[in-house]
C-alpha cells in the first residue's frame, strides 16, 4: 500500500498494465519525454522505451486515427487527448471508426483502444479547458465512457479499460488529480466497468454523482441531517442501472448532481429511467443539480456555474420537505 493521488495512481496503473502486456503502448502530445502535462505518463518512456511511450505530432485526429490502425495490427494503444476540449478534431475517428469497426465488420476487426482525457472545471483554467461533455459520448453506440473520482478507483478502472476489448473514453476529473491522497495497493487489480459504487449508505435520499462532483456531494451530505445514500456512477456508459434503482426503491427520493449542463445531460437519462422503472417507489420528482445551459464561463465567473455543496444542500432540503 502506498499513499497516492489520482495522477500517481493512474501512473502506477500504466506501469502495471504495460508490464503485464507488451502490446500496451501510450502516446499523445507531450506524453513521452515530458510524461504528459499532468505527468500521468511520467517515467514510462524511461522504463519501456520510446516505441511504447512516445510523443506524437500535435494532431488529435491523427492520434486517434493512427491508434485505430495500430489496434487493427494487434496493439493496445492508450492515447491521451491533452484536454477534453481538444478532442473535437478526433471526433470523426471516435464516432465513425473506433466505435463502429467491430459492428461494421461483424466482429472481424475490434478496437481495444483507450482514449484518456482530463475533463471538467474548477481549476481556473484557460478557455476550452473546463467542459464536461460526457453526454456527447454516451450517445455513441459502441463506445464506453468511464469517469473515476478517487485514486483507488482511477487505477482499477484504467487497468480494466485497457483490458477491455472495446474502445473506452476515460475522462479524468482534473480538479481531483491532486486533490486527495489515498491508500492505493501497489499490485494489480481492476474495477469492472459498468459498476457503480455506493460510497455511503442512507435511507432518506439517493444522491448520484460522478467524477468532480463526488467530493461536492460528500461535502453537502456532511452538512445535512438526512441520511443520504451517495452513489458514484464511475462508468457512465454502460451505467449501473440496477444499483441506482435498488437505492431509489429504498429511499424514494433521488438527486442527480452533474457538472455538465442540464438539458440533454446524463442526469436526464437517469431521471427518465427512474420514472420508467420505479415510478411508484418515488415520493418526489427526481431532481437535478447541474450547471445551467450556458457556455462554461471563463474562470472569474465559473463559480456561478459549477454546482457546489450549497446548491446540493438546498436541493436536499427541498426534497426532504416535499
Amino acid at each position: 500500500m502506498t499513499e497516492r493521488n489520482m495522477v500517481q495512481a493512474l501512473n502506477n496503473a500504466f506501469f502495471i498494465a504495460m508490464e503485464r502486456d507488451p502490446t500496451v503502448i501510450t502516446y499523445g502530445e507531450d506524453v513521452g519525454v515530458d510524461g504528459g502535462v499532468f505527468r500521468v505518463t511520467d517515467g514510462l518512456q524511461a522504463k519501456f522505451g520510446d516505441q511504447r511511450s512516445f510523443d506524437s505530432p500535435l494532431a488529435e485526429a491523427g492520434i486517434v486515427g493512427s491508434a485505430i490502425g495500430m489496434a487493427v495490427n494487434g496493439l493496445k494503444p492508450v492515447v491521451e487527448m491533452q484536454f477534453s476540449g481538444f478532442i473535437y478534431p478526433a471526433f470523426q475517428q471516435i464516432v465513425s471508426h473506433a466505435a463502429r469497426l467491430r459492428n461494421r465488420t461483424r466482429g472481424d476487426i475490434t478496437i481495444p483502444l483507450v482514449i484518456r482525457s482530463p475533463y471538467g472545471g474548477g481549476i481556473n483554467a484557460l478557455e476550452h479547458h473546463s467542459e464536461s461533455l460526457e453526454a456527447l459520448y454516451v450517445h455513441i453506440p459502441g463506445l464506453k465512457v468511464v469517469i473515476p473520482s478517487s485514486p483507488y478507483d482511477a487505477k482499477g478502472l484504467l487497468i480494466a479499460a485497457i483490458e477491455d476489448p472495446d474502445p473506452v473514453l476515460f475522462l479524468e476529473p482534473k480538479r481531483l488529480y491532486r486533490a486527495v491522497k489515498q491508500e492505493v495497493p501497489d499490485d494489480y487489480y481492476t474495477i469492472p466497468l459498468g459498476q457503480a459504487k455506493v460510497m455511503k449508505e442512507g435511507k432518506d435520499i439517493t444522491i448520484i454523482a460522478w467524477g468532480g462532483m463526488v467530493p461536492v456531494a460528500e461535502d453537502a451530505i456532511s452538512q445535512v441531517k438526512a441520511e443520504c445514500e451517495l452513489i458514484d456512477l464511475r462508468t457512465i456508459d454502460p451505467w449501473d442501472k440496477k444499483t441506482i434503482i435498488d437505492s431509489v426503491k429504498k429511499t424514494g427520493k433521488c438527486i442527480i448532481i452533474h457538472e455538465a449542463t442540464k438539458t440533454g445531460g446524463f442526469g436526464a437519462e437517469i431521471a427518465a429511467t427512474l420514472q420508467e422503472e420505479c415510478i411508484f417507489n418515488l415520493d418526489a420528482p427526481v431532481a437535478r443539480v447541474t450547471a445551467p445551459d450556458v457556455i462554461v464561463p471563463y474562470f472569474k465567473a465559473e463559480h456561478y456555474y459549477r454546482p457546489n455543496a450549497d446548491m446540493l444542500v438546498k436541493k436536499i432540503n427541498e426534497l426532504l420537505n416535499f
Binding site: P57, A59, G62, S66, I68, N103, R104, R106, D164, P165
Partner: protein
Amino acid sequence: MNIDVPYTSFLDIDGNLKEGAPQLSHDDLKTIYWHMNLGRICNAKILSMQKQGRIGTYASTLGQEGCQAALAHAIKDNDNIWLVPSFRESVATIARGYPMEQLMRYWGGFEIGSNQTREFKVMPVNIPIASQLNHAAGIAISMKFKGEKGAAIGFVGDGGTSEGEFAEAMNFVGEFKAPAVFVCQNNQYAISVPRKKQTAASTIAQKATAFGFEGVQVDGNDVFACYKIIKDAIEKAMNGGGPTFVEAITYRLDNHTTADDWHKYRTEEEVNEWKKKDPIERLKKHMMQIGCWDDQHEQHMLEDAKKKVEEAAKAYEGTPKPKVEEIFDHLYAKLPYHIQEQKDHFVKFWGGQ
C-alpha cells in the same frame, strides 16, 4: 509557384511502350489485364443490379482500373501488406482476392460484406473522406515498432487531399518514417468539383514535400508506370526507406455514385477525350502488338470474367436477410445489460425474425 515532381508514363494511348518500362512477362500482363476486366465487368454488374434495386448506392470504378490492378500486381502474394481503401477501390480489393460477392454484399447493405478484412488484409470500404489514411498510418507505424516487415497502402481521392485528416496522416507517416504508401487516385473530380478548384497547388503530389517525403506523379491509366512506381514505393517502405506519396492521374468515366449525374458539371467532349486514354484499351493494344493477345483470348477471357461475376452475383443474391439480433450482436464483445434489454424488446417486437 511550382514544385517539381517526377511524372512517369511508359505506355501511350496506341499501346506503344517507351524505354525504361519495367519488365513484365506475358503472364504478368495477362494477370493485370484479367483483373482490370474482371473489375470492370463486376462494376457493370453492380451498376445493373443497382438500377434494378437489388443493390444500394454504389461508387463506380469505370476508367480507374489501371492503377488499381497494377498496384495489386506489385504486391507479392505473401507480402505483409494491408490495403486501406477509400470507397472507389473495388478493382484493387478484388485483385487482392477479396471476394466479389462480399463487395456486392457491402454495397447491397449487408455488414457481413466487410467481415473478411483480416483474411485478405483489406480494410473495409471507408466513407468519411481521408479518415482512412490515419488508419493506414497507424498500421504502418505499428509494423515498424513491432519489427514486422510489411507496409500499409492507403488510398485517397483528389478531393480527399484537402481534408485535415489527410494532412495529419501525411505528417504522421513522415515523422515516424513509417512503411506506408499513400496513393491518390486523382480522378479529376470530387463529385462535381474539378481538381483545379480543389487546391491552388499545381500538383497534388507536391503536397508530400511539406511533410518531408517523396511525392510522385504517375499516369494512372498506364499499368506499366503504375506497377513500377508502386513496386518501388513498396520496396522502399519495406526496406526502411519511409513513406511515398503517389498521385495517379486518372479519370472517373462514370458518375460519382449511382446517385449522381455527371452531365451537370462536365462536357461530353471532355469525357470522350479521356475515353481515348482508357487503361484497358491501352494495355489490350500493347498486348496485341507484342503478340500475346488476340480476339480469341479476349473472347475467352470475357466469358470467364462474366461467369465469375455471375457466380458472385448468385452468391450475393443468396445472402440470408439479416436477423434483428444481428444489429445488436457485434456492438461490443459483451452486450451491456441495457442494450440486452433493448435487444430482447426488439426481438420480441419483430417476432424473432
